[in-house]
């Protein structure tokens, strides 16, 4: 019972168990964070809106994104993956979600920002769409969390340009 082999085995098992327990506790501590993020997206301009040869429409728009996501960071957060998705309905598909822009925020200091960006997607004339800012909290270890803020009421131009 006192050989090197037995002791090494017992030590290794104990160390791994403690490590697993610490990872679980670290992840659990994220439950005590109550975030209050704020986001505002303005569509500044529809740059172009054309019908493509293979049937899809293509649109390019410039958005201004202002956000304060600092409250989402905890000590167990490695980074925040955020992206803006446009959601809309078409006759064939009841739900379409297209990601327009994404970014990785590595630290709390970078989490308050504003951004101007030009993007494209495939949409249809006169369509109403929602812009949603999604964020995925990627922890240093443990459970990943995701949430979003929906901003509705955007509309594509009626005519191609």
């Amino acid at each position: 019972m006192h050989s090197f082999g037995y002791r090494a085995n017992a030590l290794l098992t104990y160390a791994l168990t403690i490590l697993a327990l610490m990872c679980t506790i670290a992840s659990f501590s994220d439950n005590f964070n109550f975030p209050s993020p704020s986001v505002e997206i303005q569509v500044l301009n529809f740059n172009w809106f054309q019908k493509q040869p293979h049937g899809n429409d293509e649109v390019s728009l410039t958005m201004n994104i202002t956000a304060d996501l600092q409250s989402l960071f905890t000590w167990n957060t490695k980074q925040l993956f955020i992206f803006v998705a446009a959601e809309y309905e078409t006759p064939q598909n009841s739900l379409n979600q297209v990601s327009l822009w994404d970014a990785i925020i590595p630290a709390k200091e970078h989490a308050k920002f504003w951004f101007q960006t030009a993007n494209k997607g495939s949409n249809l004339r006169g369509k109403e769409f929602n812009l949603t800012l999604h964020w995925h909290v990627m922890p240093k270890t443990g459970k990943m969390l995701a949430d979003k803020l929906v901003m509705s009421g955007f509309r594509l131009p009626e005519e191609y340009r």
Partner: protein, 140 residues
């Protein structure tokens, strides 16, 4: 397997296409549910002809009503282009049936043991040899 609903509940990240979030050697815990897929979710999927499943993020979803049929497009966070070139020939969209799970939690570094044993089989044989010797020479 029963708890998570997926056929392989734990996977090791093999490539750097999801950096800096997931690095080579990290372990991902998967969960599968009947809920429809949405953009932003990190999914693990199989492609015909490729033995290893791919772990990437969903960037587009086009869903047809409640029948559960959908067209899905994925992309690795660190890649410039989407995954269309990985899908089977002629396939432009991923189908929900090809997805084997969603990543819900992760632990860093632990998967390196698996990677080392797969890529340098000599270490696997050495380890098995040592364990075998221990079994033979133990007194219990």
């Amino acid at each position: 397997m029963c708890l998570t609903g997926s056929e392989s509940p734990v996977v090791v990240v093999l490539s750097g296409s999801m950096e800096p979030g997931f690095k080579r050697g990290d372990i991902l815990f998967l969960h599968m549910s009947r809920a429809p897929f949405r953009t932003g979710e990190i999914v693990v999927y199989n492609v015909e002809g490729r033995p290893i499943p791919i772990v990437h993020r969903v960037i587009e979803v086009h869903e047809e009503g409640n029948k559960g049929n959908a067209d899905i497009l994925t992309k690795g966070d660190a890649n410039l282009l989407d995954d269309r070139s990985f899908y089977a020939n002629g396939q432009h969209w991923l189908k929900p049936q090809q997805i084997i799970g969603r990543a819900v939690a992760f632990v860093p570094y632990v998967g390196w043991a698996t990677i080392i044993m797969t890529e340098k089989p000599i270490i696997k044989y050495m380890l098995m040899g040592v364990l075998g010797l221990l079994v033979i020479t133990s007194k219990g």
